[in-house]
Symmetry: none
DNA sequence: TTGACACCAGAACGTTCGTTCTCTACCATG
DNA sequence: CATGGTAGAGAACGAACGTTCTGGTGTCAA
């Protein structure tokens, strides 16, 4: 049983070539076209063979299908020969440019684009959490959070970034800087969103 | 760079909502489905109206077509709203469009894709610079750096992230953690690249 | 010499797709 | 009360699509 025996190595030698052509096409158009167009891309004339190729690439884990039956690339599709952190004495500055990097950061930080906002960080009240003035907070908008989350709350009509805590049954906002006081809101606490990522850009 | 200022305001007010739904769908499936499926995504029942919406989004520059007629996203599709610290008392979770700035994370951090590498940070030797274990360093590969830059150097066949300093005419690597020693390389110092950005992802 | 198999072409077929057209309900505005 | 624009529903249709089947090479080993 268990016939997932050959995940990475493609079963057919020419499949590597077809995969390369598909990757090139995808880099240009960011989509996998119809079987008919793939005939041109692959340089073959029969749709049935295109289907066989895609089925194999799917089985090998490079592409998968949406519920609609459309082919989409997997993470493995974008993997490239990657020099790990060994020696690398010769400084291979050029190497492969190619595709794939484009969405990676985005995809890593953002689950739900429509709920995600960037907010620049002002001040140093969270500096002990490694959040500096000028950093950019990636915030997912929602009004519920767990104790211990870093949240964006609305205090005095302004955004403030603090750790959500609880004290005697009431929510409090804890800075990560001993020079700042704990905020104990009277009344309800209005939470704008939860910190899901952080971005910092160093001047060039 | 990136001066696409005008085409943001969509012609129809509800288009912002449809765009958000499309962005969320794309974040999950990395493709734009058929009109029939978009009916479900958008919550409407007529394909003709879906087409009208996509035509408007295409005219506004968020999506475009391949030679095969497939819809694919443009760069603008991935732009994120950048919330300035205004008021926003009423928690308008859905609106998201129109006001504020937009930017694209990848473009902000990466100038030269072919020279840019991501390296996960290990250890806490730079913690006083707000660089934590598990953060991801965005590194631009080059072998020249200025004093004061945070650089990735190759020491003992391993990457290390430190601030570049100078001491008596020789380069040194300064950690940002008083518990770690300054590194004074004998011979030449091999610099892999310069830190240009930092990314942190908080667990959900 | 004969299978067996990988590789591919080509056609058939039922389904789905995108497009276009007509129609409706609902505001507004005047 | 007419008008016009918006926001959609729904049907119709030909073209395109994915799938399956059959058939035809070439190669290699038995």
């Amino acid at each position: 049983m268990t016939d997932f025996d050959t995940p990475l190595p493609e079963s057919n030698p020419k499949d590597a070539e077809y995969l390369a052509k598909l990757q090139d096409y995808y880099a240009e158009w960011k989509s996998i076209p119809s079987y008919a167009s793939l005939c041109e891309v692959f340089g073959i004339a029969s749709k049935s063979w295109v289907k066989a190729i895609l089925d194999r690439l799917g089985k090998a884990g490079f592409i998968e299908r949406t519920p609609d039956g459309m082919w989409i690339p997997t993470r493995q599709f974008f993997a490239r020969p990657f020099a790990e952190s060994s020696v690398q004495a010769g400084m291979p500055v050029s190497v492969s440019a190619t595709q794939g990097d484009y969405f990676i950061i985005d995809e890593m930080l953002i689950d739900t684009p429509s709920l995600t906002t960037m907010i620049p960080v002002k001040g140093d009240s969270m500096i002990e959490a490694g959040i500096h003035d000028g950093d950019i907070a990636v915030v997912e908008k929602r009004n519920l959070a767990n104790v211990g989350d870093i949240v964006v709350a609305i205090v005095d009509n302004d955004f403030t970034l603090k750790t959500l805590g609880k004290e005697g049954g009431r929510f409090i906002l804890r800075p990560a800087n001993s020079a700042y006081p704990v905020i104990r809101p009277q009344g309800s606490l209005e939470i704008f969103g939860v910190l899901v990522g952080l971005i910092r850009k160093y001047r060039k």
